[in-house]
Amino acid sequence: MNMLQDDRLTIGGHSFTSRFILGSGKYSLELIQAAIEKAGAQMVTLALRRANEGGLANILDYIPKSVTLLPNTSGARNADEAIRIARLARELGCGDFIKIEVIHDSKYLLPDNYETIKATEVLAKEGFVVMPYMYPDLNAARDFVQAGAACIMPLGAPIGTNKGLCTKDFIQILIDEIDLPIIVDAGIGRPSQACEAMEMGAAAVMANTAIATAGDIPTMAAAFRQAIEAGRKAYLSGLGRTLEKGASASSPLTGFLRE
């Protein structure tokens, strides 16, 4: 247990014991608090476009003050719009964290890496802790590092699909090559998939639709928490190796060297 207790996720100088970032959209506002508690989440995303300060059904009224708010720029179609939404979030008192989403495609909602990098560069210079949502591409990821991102958030599958780690091999490349926390965002549909991402060495998992569309939202949040913790523990323990091809020869080919 000590291994996990001392294990912290650090993003932009902020430290978290939870590696589960929970979304707050697509389900009833009354359930947000229970979901956060069961998830053990310390960071919760919210779409700034849903904020309705002082009005009816204002999502900000339902997120406990104890968690770190991670406002996102959903609705932005280019870097300029993302920058303006981020600044609005800060003005509204949502803190310095910003998850940049730039989406120029209303059908698949795939992120536009190029525009997201541009927005990252500007916002990082303004002191934001920038967490960019991206398509898992190594070259783009390196550009995000240069631009000042605090972590990288590659998608596992198109947002909302619950299809899991469709981009697994490419996420693994990012985990192996990039010296920033890699947080798998979008597409994670089951606790087992979240667990797998963590076993691979992802720093955290972000999920929303999988929980929002579950039959029992708080219980599913709890299931994700356990899966993420299990996956992290497995990663830290050092997974036993899996042989992709053939078996381990009982008479090694190089045995003759010792003859």
Binding site: G25, K26, Y27, S28, L29, A47, L48, R49, R50, N52, G55, L56, A57, N58, G75, A76, R77, D80, E81, R84, I85, L88, I103, H104, D105, S106, K107, L109, G160, T161, N162, T209, A212, T213
Partner: protein, 405 residues
């Protein structure tokens, strides 16, 4: 010019029958000042629709369409066909899954605000048509502000501004002023006004509007010609290209709608989906919205009805839109009763109006000069009631879902 298209009998009053005998201008020729786009979208919609034969689909085609993850226009055609009617429950289950996947349990709330009912068109089924003897009115800036203040006090954050189609009475500048006032009270501003040129849409976008809805009414140009006897609206292709001009003008999203009951509803629904689908492929960033209006009675003709578009057919159309474009917003208006609307939002619709008046000056008690309604509404619930009823259905009312930047 006149065609022998059979018209929904419930629309035809004696006066309309007489007017249909008169000579009319060519409905396919642009009038001076109308922007002509270099685009083949409209033609593609018409070509694909004319070859759509809904009788050729079988139950197996419908099941195949349901099994696809990404549905084609041919799948859409199957889902709209008579062969799909016996499978409505299965289609509803699939539609609901798609809706939940993309929207969770969120349902956006808004209200329409009619700021003028002057109209230069003669659409024989519409209460605002220029020959219908109704009380006309137009709100001035002060009155618009009063109406918006009254609406905002109900908690709504999204407004849809409507006018009758009179370019001379409700000028682009007048609509722009209304948008600027709306920016003070609302986060999302939609427009449902006469089609205009892309530079005019750009101006209104600057004034704060970011969504434009234009109902094509029917995509059958011959039928269209017999229903729209006078005015700018008579020019079929100019209306057909309105959404594309709006996108070129910088609008974030566009809405589509055929008025079900005017013509063959399966063909019109197919054309509507086809239109939205083709435009989204050309403009991938565009947000897409569908409206699903059925014909309603109007002042001076309470007989008007949508003929063969009964509730199962309406449901079929709404669900087919959802399955073709799972990410699209779908609105159900107060043309439908509370029971139908509440069930449609449980299955496929994602936007619902509340506290609706389709007349002029209907929201504020301080406006004495009121104008008559466009059509009779079937759901008079207040914002608070709709909010409560959505929650009772396990749905989350959403007041705003956009940041204007």
């Amino acid at each position: 010019m006149q065609q022998n298209e059979p018209i929904n009998e419930s629309i035809l009053s004696d006066a309309v029958r007489q007017d249909l005998k008169k000579e009319r201008i060519d409905h396919m020729t642009y009038l001076p000042g109308m922007e002509v786009l270099d685009s083949d979208i409209g033609q593609q919609v018409l070509t694909r629709t004319s070859s759509y034969n809904y009788h050729c689909y079988t139950e197996a085609d419908v099941r195949r369409a349901l099994s696809h993850e990404n549905r084609t226009l041919d799948d859409f055609g199957a889902l709209l066909s008579p062969a799909a009617l016996p499978l409505l429950e299965e289609i509803a289950q699939a539609a609901r899954r798609e809706t939940r996947k993309h929207f969770g349990n969120s349902v956006c709330m808004f209200t329409p605000l009619y700021i003028a009912n002057y109209c230069e068109n003669y659409c024989i089924y519409c209460g605002f048509n220029c020959h219908n003897k109704i009380h006309r009115a137009q709100l001035n800036a002060e009155q618009i502000e009063k109406e918006m203040e009254a609406i905002a006090s109900t908690g709504l954050q999204e407004i849809l501004i409507l006018t009758g189609e009179s370019r001379s009475k409700s000028t682009v500048a007048y609509i722009g002023e209304a948008c600027k006032i709306a920016r003070k009270y609302f986060k999302v501003i939609g427009l449902e006004v006469y089609p205009m040129n892309s530079n005019e849409y750009a101006y209104l976008h600057e004034c704060g509007a970011d969504y434009v809805t234009v109902f094509q009414e029917t995509y059958n140009s011959h039928k269209y010609e017999t229903l729209h006897l006078q005015g700018h609206k008579r020019i079929f292709p100019y209306r057909l290209n309105a959404q594309e001009r709006a996108l070129k003008g910088g609008m974030r999203g566009v809405g589509f709608g055929a008025l079900l009951g005017l013509d063959d509803f399966r063909k019109d629904a197919f054309a509507t989906g086809c239109h939205a689908w083709l435009l989204q492929r050309k403009y991938p960033h565009a947000e897409i919205a569908f409206s699903c209006p059925r014909l309603r009675p109007i002042i001076n003709n309470d007989k008007i009805n949508p003929m063969d578009v009964h509730e199962p057919q309406l449901l079929q159309v709404v669900m087919a839109y959802r399955l073709l474009m799972p990410f699209a917003s779908i609105t159900v208006s107060t043309r439908e009763c509370a029971r139908v609307r509440d069930n449609l939002v449980s299955i496929a619709a994602t936007k619902i109006s509340a506290g609706v008046s389709t007349g002029i000056g209907g929201h504020s008690d301080e406006i004495s000069e009121k104008g008559d309604d466009q059509f009779e509404i079937s759901d008079e619930r207040s914002v608070g009631q709709v909010f409560h009823d959505l929650q009772a259905h396990g749905l989350q009312p959403v007041m705003n879902d956009y940041v204007y930047v």
